[in-house]
Symmetry: C2
Subunit: 270 residues, 2 copies
């Protein structure tokens, strides 16, 4: 009976930790839930840690002390991430994805939960040291990736709009020049969305010249927040000179050949 | 040693099943991964099932036969769901959320991954029998809920746009009358997004008269797909006569009092 109870606890512990990445659970939370002593729980936590690490499924961190506890951090080996990105790049390079103007159709991939959630975990892993408080994106195609990244960090996402909406209350707005269309556009953010001094990681699906990314930076600064990083799903190699200086991407679009319909997207590997 | 290995397997099995809701894993997949016999794996699966069910964390289904396997289905008890929705409704009824025009600020809740993912699981649970192939939404505020629902079902999401974009290729578009603004608007969907005859569950954040929801229905029908249901986060009680007949929501906005700033949102409980 005790044996069976232990197995059931391990299952429940694994699921709860996995469902709340980065959330620090006090040991007392699980001790009460499972009605076990702290020493027993420590053994269980060690078991979950070993199981995840043996199969490259993530990290269990324990924090000692009165305000301590246990938490799960999503993690995959660089080899596993690289393989995932290569497989995805192959799909992106399918000539049938090429649209007029050198654009590439990729909604089906970005809106596939299994793909976007894995990508979100990779972005989290690669930006961990930035310790963002918020993930910021702009409507609409980047939202799935931004939400997946927010989920991996277990922090909120905020979304800038292309125009202010009455449903979102007082807003700040800025004008920016979209790199691809060269048109002056407006972007806005509800005043309530981002507290002053918060650290913001910008996540978006695609960047060419960086006008939109720059716009999001200005918008964040306008409310007193700080952009600590900008991460794209795909960044175009052209133009070489971008409007923003600091950014990184999961993939680089090296170019497209309209005649042969060849697309060349390569992953940024670790 | 064998004991430790079993515990580690249980941890890995729990995590893999949990991360891929509804995905049917052939028994052979895990037998090879863990190098165990099918009888051993069956015991492990039974352990995961018991652990999840004891702590109200979900369901493990096994399908017998050559094309059979094992899969995880997110599930919470109606009591737990009701409690979650009541807590959320209390937050929504905070008078500081009231905006001009009787609108309610709720981005912070919808874009909190822990909240949206739980809501997505509740929608999935309440629409399970519709067996949708796709979750459909329209930009932009409903995307987090739609993606969370897609994640819970492990099916793709598709997103209609308020205007056609060159980055998404050939599109179909329809005109619709937005219930709140009474203006004629356009909504479009990439032709590639939705295969003919696919079964679509529409998910959105808010519905007043139902104009937008009706637009999404027409858009889906335009490409030969079928809308099997429409699910909202919040539906307004007013106007009583909606443009669409069939819908359900997690919450009902019973009304707002601009003078006292009282908001009355109540959950739809099971």
């Amino acid at each position: 009976m005790a044996r069976i109870k232990r197995l059931e606890r391990i299952v429940a512990l694994t699921k709860e930790l996995n469902d709340h990445p980065f959330q620090l659970f006090p040991f007392s939370y699980f001790c009460e839930k499972f009605t076990v002593a702290k020493s027993t729980l420590s053994e269980d936590v060690q078991t979950v840690r070993n199981g995840l690490s043996t199969y490259d499924l993530g990290i269990i961190e324990t924090v000692a002390g009165a305000s301590g506890g246990v938490r799960f951090i999503p993690y995959h080996s660089p080899e596993a991430d690289n393989e995932f990105l290569w497989t995805l790049a192959k799909k992106l390079n399918d000539p049938s994805r090429l649209l007029p103007g050198g654009m590439i159709y990729m909604n089906d991939l970005l809106f596939d939960p299994q793909i976007s959630f894995r990508l979100g975990e990779i972005i989290m892993q690669r930006t961990l040291e930035l310790q963002p408080d918020y993930i910021m994106t702009v409507e609409a195609k980047g939202i799935s990736l931004a939400l997946a990244t927010a989920r991996a960090f277990n922090i909120p996402m905020v979304m800038a709009r292309k125009e202010a909406r009455i449903t979102e209350g007082p807003a700040v707005s800025i004008s920016y020049v979209s790199g691809s269309s060269k048109k002056i556009q407006t972007m806005s953010l509800p005043r309530k969305a981002l507290p002053p001094k918060s650290k913001v990681l910008v996540v978006d699906d695609f960047m060419r010249a960086g006008g939109t990314a720059r716009g999001m930076q200005e918008l964040a600064e306008e409310v007193g927040a700080e952009v600590v990083g900008t991460y794209l799903f795909i960044a175009s190699r052209e133009p070489e000179k971008k409007i923003i200086n600091e950014y990184a991407s999961l993939m680089t679009l090296q170019g497209v050949d309209a005649e042969t319909k060849a697309i060349s997207i390569v992953p940024e590997m670790l």
